[in-house]
């Protein structure tokens, strides 16, 4: 059955005359190699050079803060429930009166862990979240030799307290504009 016209017959004829010296074959091969030296390189030098991600790329999770810098996550457990890989665990705690600026709601996640080895980056946690607290950012979980380091706790997940203009994640353009407005 012939599927395409691109199949080539294998040439098995006996070598004759000049061909017996192998020179024409060698020169032909070297010409091909030489041609490749002027072609565009398809690869990049990864850690130094990074390719831009698609705007819908789902990378490592980030636990967002609200406009006042308080953690949005209220440990409702819906992300853990939605997670098909069962990668998320959390422990809730009650907010104390002097912690109002730290946590947005009455209840907060005292412990929040995502096992990056289990995570399949499907983004269902992001969809399940009623508080717009968890997002999949556009960075990759870094490689490591130690399996234990792949359990990301709040120290790695919670967004650092910096003005959003300095964020690596620029997927929330509107959020940034809002911040600039607040600053004025």
């Amino acid at each position: 059955m012939q599927l395409t016209n691109r199949s080539k017959k294998v040439d098995t004829h006996a070598l004759q005359g000049m061909e017996k010296t192998y020179l024409p074959g060698i020169l032909k091969g070297m010409a091909i190699t030489f041609k490749h030296m002027f072609k565009k390189v398809p690869t990049i030098r990864y850690p130094e050079v990074k390719k831009p991600f698609s705007s819908v790329w789902r990378g490592v999770h980030i636990l967002k803060r609200d406009e006042n810098g308080a953690e949005r996550c209220t440990a409702c457990g819906l992300c853990a429930l939605a997670c098909p890989a069962e990668a998320i665990t959390m422990e809730a705690a009650e907010r104390k009166p002097n912690e109002v600026g730290l946590y947005r709601e009455e209840k907060y996640a005292a412990k929040y862990e995502i096992n990056m080895l289990r995570c399949i980056f499907c983004g269902l946690c992001e969809e399940a979240c009623p508080k717009e607290a968890i997002f999949l950012s556009n960075s990759i979980a870094s490689a490591n030799y130690d399996r234990g380091t792949f359990i990301y706790g709040k120290d790695k997940l919670v967004e650092p307290v910096t003005p959003p203009s300095e964020h690596v994640n620029v997927f929330e353009e509107g959020y940034r504009k809002q911040w600039m407005k607040l600053k004025k």
């Binding site: 209220t74 809730a92 009455e106 209840k107 508080k131």
Partner: protein, 328 residues
Amino acid sequence: MFKVTIDGVQTEVEPGTSILQAARKIGGHHVPPAMCYYSKLKGSGGKCRVCLVRVAAGSEKDPRPMPKLVASCVTPVQDGMVVENLLSQEVLEARRGVVEFLLLNHPLDCPICDQAGECHLQDLGFEHGREGTRYQEGRRTFKPIDIGPYIKLHMTRCILCYRCTMVADQLTPNRVHGIMWRGEVSEISTYIENSIDNEFSGNMIDVCPVGALTDNTFRFKSRVWFTKPFDAHRECPTCSGKVVLWNHGNEIYRVTGRKDTYGELEEFICNTCRFEKKEMGDWVIEGPRTINRHSVIGQNHYDAPYQGLLKPGNKRSLMAAKTEEVQN
């Protein structure tokens, strides 16, 4: 015996039965929901208006329809009555309105609330509510307070069904809490911050249809759907001792009474069983509790062997039967 037809299904009930009870006798989808009515509490019902139904024919003698929708929990049946619940568009429309009113002052804090997952208002809103709110005014808010060492009262979530005050009235000898003020500003309160320490006061947690009264020993410990329910019992001098344990592994997170299909307690349990017996050694486990598979609590909860295993002729079904025999 009176003949009643509810959504086209006929049944016979004793005179004096309410429409809701008659519907529950039939069972299934056509039972009107109830937020304030509680069959085990005298005088409950008639407050939330969620159970409104249309009476298409009053009785055999006088088959005219009733002019307005009636609350099925407090309206007694008459012979030859024809009731429409889900079949009537008018009822569904009215119920949607009632749910909207119930949610006027109810905060949208299900992610925080411990009742989420077993909340009747949540189910009701899911079934009959609209997607967004049209209410623009601020909701009334209160600070959560402790009434007694074990019960947390968060008035913000209260829908004023009066069930808890009836528990206090009918189960405990000294009533120390009730509803203060009137109308929109009414709230549940204790007598000058008196604590509630009656032996059966914990039942008001189970009786509360929303998360206004919650268990302080379970507060924010886990979501309901991450705990596994087991039927268990113990020898208790004050109550029946038949409870449901909500476990996380071998740790008992919460103890509640056993609730039937309509979310009502089968038996009221005492505070000792509910709050103080949290060791596995205190209880005799009967087995996993049957949970409606449509409930979020049913997630990853298996209460019976897979049905396919029980087919006759299946080797493993014999084994299952044998294990059951041994257990019994």
